[in-house]
Symmetry: C2
Subunit: 196 residues, 2 copies
C-alpha cells in the first residue's frame, strides 16, 4: 500500500476508467455536473486564479450549432453524446482575483496587468483544471471523451467571445456499446522520469 | 451520493488537500514516486501521446543548481522541500507514437510532422498530465507545492534541452508547520459554468 488512495478510487479514476467513444441514452443531470464542479474547483491553480469556464451544450439547437465545427471523425459521437462540455480559458480571470486571492488583492495588477501574460497563465491553469475536470467526470461514475479536434476559431465565435479561448470539448455519459478502443501502452517510469 | 467517488477519496484528493508551503524532513521515496507515476500515467492524453517528462531533483548538488532559478519568494521552500520535481513537455513525443498509439502508427507523421504543431500539443497534453500529477501526489498521502514562478529559460538550459519545455516545478513532501495559507474562496458553479 504505497498509495493512500484506496484501490476502488484508484480504479474509478485511473486504472478501470477509459476514454469513451459511444454512450448510452442515460441523461447526465445538472446535479451531477454541479457535484463534479464542486469537487474539482478545490484543486489548485496559480494565485487561485481558477480560469476554467465551462459551457454545457444541452439543447438540441446548440448541439446542432456545435457539431459542424467538430473534426469529421468527432461529429457523430458529439451529436449522440448525452452531454457535451466546451472547456475554455477566461483571459480576463484577473477581474476575479481580489475575491479569489484575498491575501494579495494587488496581484490583479502587479502580476496580471498585461493581456499576453494573462492569456498564457489562463491557458496553463485552465488546462490544469481540464485535467481535474476529466477526473471529476470519472468521480461521478461517468466516462469522458475529450477532444481537441475541432475548429477552435469557429467554436470560439459561435459559443464564446474574444476573452474566452476554447481548450477542448468533452463528451460525457455512461459508456455505450463498443465504447472503448483497446488500452494502449504507457511509458514506463524509467522512460518518463529521470532523477538528478 | 451524487458522486461515485467515496468521501475519503474526495477529501484526500480535493476537499482536505491543500497546497503546502513548508514540509517536514520525512523523505519522499523512489517507491512513492513510482506509485504516483504508475497511477497517473493511465489518465488520458490526445493520441495517448503522454508528453509529460519529470526530473526529480534529489541530490544536494542539483538542488543548489535549481534554487537560484526560482523566483525569490519560492527559493527558501524549494531549497528545503524533501523532493522537488521539474515537470516538462517533450516536444518530440511523436517519436514514441508508433508504440503509444498502435492502432494508427501513422499519426506520428500525419498529425505531428510539424514541430510547431507538436509543441502546442505537447504543452496542452503535458499540462493536463501535470494536473493528474498534482492529484497523484495527494493520492500518495503527500502534499504538493506547484510553482510557475521561476526562470523558465534558465531551468531549461540547466536541466533540460531544446526539445523539453519546463511547465512547472513542484515541491513534494509531508506538510510542515504553518504549511498552508488560509483556504481561498472558489467561483460558484453558476459563475464558472453556463448551459446552452
Amino acid at each position: 500500500m504505497t498509495l493512500a488512495l484506496d484501490s476502488a478510487a484508484q480504479d474509478l479514476l485511473f486504472h478501470a476508467a477509459h476514454t469513451a467513444n459511444s454512450f448510452t441514452d442515460e441523461p447526465v443531470t445538472e446535479e451531477q455536473m454541479q457535484a463534479v464542479y464542486d469537487l474539482i474547483k478545490m484543486a489548485p491553480t496559480a494565485f487561485n486564479q481558477s480560469p476554467l469556464r465551462v459551457v454545457l451544450v444541452r439543447s438540441a439547437e446548440a448541439r446542432e450549432r456545435l457539431v459542424p465545427h467538430m473534426a469529421e471523425g468527432n461529429q457523430a459521437k458529439t451529436a449522440a453524446a448525452p452531454l457535451v462540455a466546451i472547456l475554455a480559458a477566461d483571459n480576463e480571470f484577473h477581474e476575479e482575483l481580489p475575491v479569489l486571492f484575498p491575501h494579495f488583492p494587488q496581484a490583479k495588477d502587479v502580476f496580471f496587468g498585461e493581456r499576453p501574460v494573462r492569456e498564457r497563465s489562463a491557458e496553463l491553469n485552465a488546462t490544469l483544471q481540464a485535467g481535474y475536470f476529466l477526473l471529476g467526470i470519472r468521480a461521478a461514475g461517468l466516462a469522458a471523451g475529450p477532444m481537441t479536434g475541432f475548429d477552435h476559431a469557429g467554436v470560439q465565435k459561435e459559443f464564446l467571445d474574444d476573452d474566452h479561448t476554447p481548450l477542448m470539448i468533452v463528451n460525457i455519459g455512461k459508456p455505450g456499446a463498443d465504447a472503448f478502443y483497446p488500452r494502449s501502452p504507457r511509458l514506463s517510469f524509467d522512460q518518463a522520469v529521470t532523477t538528478v
